[in-house]
């Protein structure tokens, strides 16, 4: 696996990732958003595999496996269980109109590529344009959290932005040290568990979506 091939593959996967993020942004239904995140995680797993092959670093293979196992399978399953338990309506009510969200998304992507262009020498350390893609993915993930009302869609946004970070982290020369990657994933899982518990407790005690609570102000 030569470097040039790895770079083109990473760029293609980057494009795919951006596409899945657009899907999440444009998703009208909660299910679609969850499936889009699962797809995104699969692509990141593949990217991990490609980079593992290109750099010959065994850790990347392990990370790719864990990413697919946890992020592509376990988390979407957890989200779907919570959706069934909570039984909320499926539509996603946007806080700011979808068209405005898409315009902002475009601005973010342009900004991240503009920033990445200024980094001369260090680009080699990060194969392909994983850096701008990573920045774009993360900021779009946060944008999803801003523009959606319901708590679950915010969790989806959070996982999407974490995927962005993973993608850049893997693309850095020989990838992040293994224990760090595993630690990060462990924290993401713990975070997801706590959020799930919170959503369920509010749903059971107050019967309102936790993201709608806004008593604490001023």
């Amino acid at each position: 696996m030569s470097d040039a091939l790895a770079t083109t593959l990473i760029d293609d996967i980057g494009a795919l990732l951006l596409f899945t993020m657009i899907l999440i942004l444009g998703a009208g239904q909660l299910y679609r958003a969850i499936y889009a995140v699962a797809a995104q995680s699969v692509f990141i797993g593949i990217a991990g595999a490609v980079l593992g092959a290109a750099t010959g670093n065994p850790d990347l293979w392990v990370i790719a496996g864990i990413t697919i196992a946890i992020k592509a399978i376990f988390l979407p399953w957890l989200l779907l269980r919570v959706v069934k338990r909570v039984g909320i309506r499926l539509e996603i009510e946007p806080v700011i109109p979808i068209s405005v969200t898409l315009v902002i998304a475009a601005i973010i992507v342009v900004l991240s590529f503009y920033l990445a262009a200024s980094l001369g020498t260090v680009r080699q350390a990060i194969t392909g344009n994983a850096l701008p893609v990573g920045v774009a993915l993360m900021l779009l993930g946060v944008l999803v959290m801003v523009s959606r009302r319901k708590a679950l869609t915010q969790m989806v946004g959070l996982f999407a932005s974490e995927n962005g970070i993973f993608f850049t982290a893997m693309a850095v020369s020989q990838g992040m040290p293994l224990i760090i990657e595993i630690g990060v994933i462990l924290d993401v899982i713990l975070g997801a568990l706590v959020m799930g518990i919170l959503v369920l407790r509010v749903r059971s005690s107050v019967d309102a979506d936790i993201a709608d609570l806004d008593q604490l102000r001023g």
Binding site: L115, L139, A211, D214, L216
Partner: protein
């Protein structure tokens, strides 16, 4: 006993007094007495050190290094002429207040709990100790620390009774204004210490010398505002009439008599010493601002004092007036001061007038507040309308209060007249020397000073008359008895000081020798006293073109002689004795309702100066069935403190509405929170993203 040792003894006395609060749990009464003894001993020690430095002692300032508390600053005490003089001012009033304190507390607040008397003793010692040490502070950090401890201790004394809300509000207004002052002073001192690379005053002087004149003037005006907020100059005086009456009377005497002077010490220190250009005259704008502020404070202070019917609030407003008079002296001194050439005697006269008025005001204001305290602790009533007829019941307090009233109205035999006469001389002859529009303005300021003198006289005739003379207008006034001896002792000390400073001003000139010489660089105040030593006081070069000299001692002698002569003439020929008849009130039986109350007395001046007072009155007539027969008449009339209304209420209203608007606008929604994170990130990336 070297002065350094004296200062150590003083600090030790205050510390011992403060520690007396620990024994308050078992013996509150003796704790109070010991605490006040600590203050007395400290004051005497301080007074001794001050006199030693002012009269005898070496010329160059006394430097004592304090233990090293903070690594970045060397704290030290440096007692030069100016500090010694203000230390003397603090000691005089503190000694008499300490004498006065215990008996007053026992009489005014008999059921004071152990905890609050302990707090009172500790705060009092901290308050007087910090003021004394503040005058001797040698560097910026110790100055600021003692300044804040002084503010905190006086705040604790003001809000001593935690029950009444009025005290709490007075305390809040006081500490906020004090803090604004401190913030400004902090900024000025830190700029100087940063430029001068060192915390002590000499480094600050080099720092100031390095500054450009524009920067130096800006710092002076900031410092002036800061100190003026604490000294109660008119636009920033609003807290004073609320805070001073709230404290116990001997503390009000300390606050009015001494704390305001310590703030003025700050103005003298920055204006004449730290920020003053090494050579050449002080910038004219400095002198003008101080003179203008002084005149406005004097006139407005006394005008508002005239309409007050709460005895202690009236005295507090008079403090504003007297601070104004001191600033007038300081202002004309700044205009005339010229360090380069030999300092003109008029500048020395003006500065001597301002400093002497500090000492004089401390003595007679202290005496008046202690007198008012005597009235308060016997009648528990501060409103003059419900007093009256106390002169027969409390003769000693009445005579001492009258003496203080004559002194504050700047009438001849006493000390108020001496410093006011010197200020008149400085303003008139200084105006003549300055010439042109500035001369005209300074002579006009002199006539405003005369107006202030007249108003003060009217105000104190009202205060003395309504409180002590005529028939008692309430049950409390009826039951009043003479105050205990120790309180009279405290008042007597100040009364004697008033008389001595009034009749023999020459001695005061000797005290002023060192400060004036140090600040103005020329010969000291002693050139103002001609060959006859303490008797004659002259403004201008002796025998020179501008000589105006008076001998207050001779006048006092004549006055006493004539008084004795007339008394003999009146009492000598035996003739029909004295008959006591009720006062003639057109045939009706005279009751206390006939007396001319304080409101009635001040009514004519209220109408004349209505434009400033904006008085509003409401009169309700209670008529029975027949509309023409008036059963009861309710008269309510008060004046509006213009500065307070426009400046403070509006500012307070603006700040609260602004903050509530900002608070209400913030929604609790989480999307807003995350939006802020995203927005901030994008903005910072755009601004700082590309190197």
């Amino acid at each position: 006993m070297t002065p350094a040792l004296g200062l150590g003894v003083m600090a030790a006395c205050f510390a011992a007094g403060a520690l007396a609060c620990l024994m308050a749990r078992w013996a509150p009464r003796s704790a109070v007495v010991i605490g006040h003894l600590g203050v007395l001993a400290g004051a005497i020690a301080g007074g001794g050190v001050a006199l030693a430095l002012l009269i005898g002692g070496p010329v160059e300032p006394l430097r004592i290094a304090l233990p090293e508390l903070f690594p970045f600053a060397r704290m030290s005490l440096a007692v030069d002429g100016l500090s010694a003089f203000f230390l003397l001012v603090v000691s005089v009033v503190a000694a008499s207040a300490a004498l006065y304190g215990p008996a007053y507390l026992r009489a005014a607040e008999p059921h004071k709990s152990a905890a609050s008397s302990a707090a009172h003793v500790f705060a009092l010692n901290a308050f007087v100790g910090s003021m004394a040490l503040l005058c001797c502070a040698g560097d910026a950090l110790s100055f600021l620390l003692f300044w804040e401890v002084m503010t905190l201790a006086s705040y604790a004394l003001v809000v001593a009774e935690t029950r009444s809300d009025e005290n709490a509000r007075a305390g809040l207004l006081y500490i906020v204004m004090a803090h604004i002052g401190t913030a400004l002073i902090l900024f000025v001192f830190l700029t100087l210490t940063e430029r001068g690379h060192g915390f002590d005053f000499s480094a600050m002087r080099t720092g100031a010398a390095a500054l450009s004149p524009a920067w130096r003037s800006a710092l002076f005006f900031l410092g002036l505002t800061g100190f003026a907020a604490k000294a109660g100059v008119v636009p920033l005086h609003v807290w004073l009439p609320y805070a001073h009456p709230a404290a116990p009377s001997h503390v009000s005497a300390l606050m009015s008599g001494v704390m305001l002077k310590v703030a003025l010490y700050g103005i003298f220190r920055t204006g004449f010493d730290l920020l003053a250009p090494p050579s050449g005259p002080l910038p004219a704008s400095w002198g003008w601002t101080v003179l203008l502020a002084g005149t406005v404070s004097a006139v407005i202070g006394v005008l508002y004092a005239l309409q007050q019917h709460d005895l202690k609030r009236l005295l507090a407003f008079h403090s504003v007036e007297n601070v104004g008079i001191i600033l007038m002296g300081a202002g004309i001194a700044m205009l005339l001061a010229d360090r380069g050439r030999a300092a003109s005697p008029l500048a020395t006269l003006a500065l001597a007038a301002a400093l002497l008025h500090c000492l004089n005001h401390a003595t007679f204001k202290g005496l008046l507040f202690l007198g008012a305290g005597g009235v308060l602790c016997r009648t528990h009533v501060r409103n003059m309308e419900e007093l009256g007829g106390l002169a027969r019941r409390m003769p000693w307090t009445a005579w001492l209060f009258l003496l203080g009233a004559v002194a504050i109205s700047a009438l001849p035999p006493l000390n108020g007249f001496v410093s006011e006469w010197m200020t008149f001389q400085a303003l008139v002859l200084g105006g003549g020397k300055l010439g042109g529009a500035s001369g005209l303005f300074s002579v006009l300021a002199a006539s405003m000073l005369a107006l202030t003198g007249g108003l003060a006289a009217a105000c104190f005739v009202k205060a003395f008359g309504a409180t002590f003379l005529g028939r008692p207008r309430s049950r409390h006034a009826e039951a009043a008895r003479e105050v205990p001896l120790s309180m009279l002792g405290g008042m007597l000390v100040l009364a004697i000081a008033c008389v001595v400073l009034g009749v023999l001003p020459g001695f005061a000139m000797l005290l002023l020798e060192r400060p004036t010489a140090q600040l103005l660089g020329g010969p000291g105040a002693s050139q103002l006293v001609t060959v006859h030593g303490p008797l004659v006081l002259t403004g201008g070069e002796p025998g020179g073109a501008l000589a105006t000299s008076i001998s207050v001692t001779a006048v006092a002698g004549l006055f006493a002689g004539f008084a004795l002569l007339v008394w003999l003439v009146r009492a000598w020929p035996r003739r029909a004795g004295r008959r006591l008849e009720p006062t003639w009130t057109c045939g009706m039986a005279p009751t206390s309702r006939f007396d001319f109350t304080a409101t009635a007395f001040a009514k004519s001046l209220r109408l004349i100066f209505a434009m400033l007072y904006r008085p509003h009155r409401k009169v309700e007539r209670e008529t029975g069935d027949n509309p023409y027969v008036v059963k009861r008449l309710h008269y309510g009339g008060d004046i509006v403190d213009v500065a307070e209304m426009n400046l403070y209420r509006r500012l307070q209203h603006l700040v609260t509405t602004l903050s509530t608007a900002v608070r209400d606008r913030s929604t609790g929604r989480i999307h807003g929170y995350i939006g802020f994170v995203l927005g901030t990130l994008l903005v910072v990336l755009i601004l700082y993203g590309r190197g």
